[in-house]
Subunit: 139 residues, 2 copies
């Protein structure tokens, strides 16, 4: 991919606070929900903090196909990453996203069974900019 | 639904310029793209203007299951509507969304075969607000 496009994509990820996370429901319909951006490794993996009991987690346990979307606010641009979502209940990844204040939502702490981490791993991307699409593979 | 929630939902729709439109790709992965909000009839139907040749239209021709998502900017709120997407190529609906300037994108005018309208019809909704979800049916 051209460096200029990659710079734009990285800027869009940086400025995005809420990422749209898409799953598939039990009737085969796409579903979407905004989730806070936390840690990520370039374009390849993105972590999200959520409730194990949430509808989204239950959907990903049955079907790990996912996409995440970054919606540009100022320009007509957007980034879609398509891949798989893993539901992580291990201490290490839960500790990684834990922060002061989380105990309000998860009173039992890091190992609260209702606290889990979603790890998205991207396989493909599509960057929309200036009415053109720029698809790319992610290794 | 309570009037207060309905008022919040309508305010969120009013303030949203770009709606996230979700489809399913040929490999069964959810896909997402921001599209301009145009006309809508309450919470039931939403129209979008797009290219017939676009990836999104080709996906909806094969699988009409859809969701549209409104992401709140100021509060932690969001609205998901789940339903079906119809690809419309009739003159009447194409004329309804046609505006001066569209000929830049569709040089053949309203009946340009690469111009079409997507009509989304909602069946269910889910409004997220204040860490709670409020699911509802749409008649």
């Amino acid at each position: 991919m051209e460096q200029e496009l990659l710079d734009q994509i990285n800027a869009l990820i940086d400025e995005t606070k809420n990422i749209i996370v898409c799953s598939t429901d039990e009737n085969g319909f796409p579903n979407a929900k905004a989730m806070f951006k936390t840690e990520h490794d370039g374009l390849k993996t993105f972590l999200f903090s959520t409730n194990t009991s949430s509808m989204r987690v239950q959907q990903f346990l049955k079907n790990d196909r996912a996409c995440i979307y970054f919606c540009g606010q100022s320009k007509i641009n957007g980034l879609m990453l398509v891949g798989r979502m893993e539901v992580c209940t291990d201490h290490a990844r839960k500790a990684r996203l834990w922060a002061d204040g989380c105990e309000i939502y998860y009173p039992l702490g890091i190992d609260d069974p209702d606290y889990c981490v979603l790890e998205f791993t991207a396989e493909q991307g599509n960057y929309y900019y200036n009415l053109s699409k720029h698809p790319f593979e992610i290794q």
